[in-house]
């Protein structure tokens, strides 16, 4: 894997993302998106061979492409509703990858919780905060896109470089999954033995979150100017 190519691709991707951010001074919309998509596709196709067995790699490449593109659109789309829908796409792709990783129970849980529960809430809130007349002004312009994108891609480059630099070490000797590894029973047993305290605490956390969400949402806002209830 020629790392120079990676650097070029990452730079290209970064530049594309920067251009694709909403409201940037050099916002060029679709053209940038196409550049970006191209870069992502090449990137993913470069990654795919890393993923071992043939059809496994193919699936992975496809899912990765979906995930990355979805993620890109989540952060570049000016309309929150679309962002949320793209996020759903990401979730589905990640779920697929989890299946590839033999974590079927987790994949199911992810889809059920995110797609079923969390995203519904999100959509609900998005709709609640929706106003007529196109995207809100704050959605039309990104904040500090240059620094943000640059920082992110430098970090990405650093991480990627590390992973690829140790490619042989990491990628070598893929462990064969044991037949029963993805067994939901085993996960459950693990959770209720080794991590039982964590499970309990998580339960409490969820309870607290629920109570907290209720109390917060029930609170009446007081406008600062008049001090009246709304």
């Amino acid at each position: 894997m020629p790392s120079a190519l990676f650097v070029i691709l990452l730079t290209l991707g970064g530049a594309g993302l920067y251009l694709a951010m909403p409201g940037g001074r050099f916002h060029v919309g679709r053209a940038a998106l196409i550049v970006l998509l191209g870069a992502a596709a090449v990137l993913v196709s470069l990654i795919a061979p890393l993923a071992g067995p043939h059809e496994h790699g193919l699936w992975l490449a496809l899912l990765a492409l979906v995930a990355v593109v979805g993620a890109l659109r989540v952060i570049t789309h000016p309309r929150p509703v679309y962002s949320a829908l793209y996020f759903l796409l990401v979730i589905i792709a990640v779920g697929g990858m989890l299946v590839l990783l033999d974590a079927t129970f987790l994949a199911a849980a992810l889809l059920i919780i995110y797609a079923g529960a969390i995203m519904v809430t999100y959509m609900f809130v998005i709709m609640l905060a929706q106003k007529g007349g196109g995207p809100a002004p704050y959605d039309r312009a990104a904040r500090e896109p240059l620094i943000g994108v640059a920082t992110g891609f430098v970090l990405l480059a650093a991480l990627t470089g590390r992973v690829l630099g140790a490619g042989g070490e990491l990628g070598g000797a893929p462990a064969t999954p044991e037949a029963s590894l993805s067994n939901i029973v085993q996960v459950g047993a693990r959770l209720l033995t080794q991590y039982v305290v964590g499970v309990e605490i998580t339960g409490v956390l969820l309870l607290v979150a629920m109570v907290g969400a209720i109390t917060i949402a029930r609170r009446r806002a007081v406008t600062e100017q008049e001090g009246e209830f709304r």
Binding site: M21, L50, A51, G52, L60, A64, A71, V74, I75, P80, F87, V90, I91, V94, A103, L106, L110, I113, Y114, A117, I118, T121, Y122, V125, I126, A129, A136, Y138, A142, R143, I147, G148, V149, G152, F153, L155, L159, T160, V163, L164, A166, L170, G171, A173, P174, L181, R190, L191, Q194, Y195, G198, T202, L206, A209, G212, A213, I214, I216, A217, E224
Partner: protein, 103 residues
Amino acid sequence: MLAAYLLIGAGLFVLGLIGFVTRRNLIIMFLCTELMFQGIVLNLVAFGRYPLDGHPTLDGQAFGLFLLAVAAAEAALALALIVLLYRYRDTLDPNVWKLLKDE
């Protein structure tokens, strides 16, 4: 094998990070944190599946489950807060809230 997942995880994480920093919509920002969670879940599970010592474990998946629970809790609270904030100022722009600034 592992490397591919790590790279995808890193990509998701970094994209989430960029989104969190640059987008000016509270809801999208929280979506971006969820994006970062996805990258992390992917990492955790991949490490469990392809461990460096060659013995796959379920710990990655267990952690992933915890992460899901935390994400759910966080989403509930965060969205409640967002609703509240929106009621106060009629906007989702986080830059309206600068109470941390020492004036």
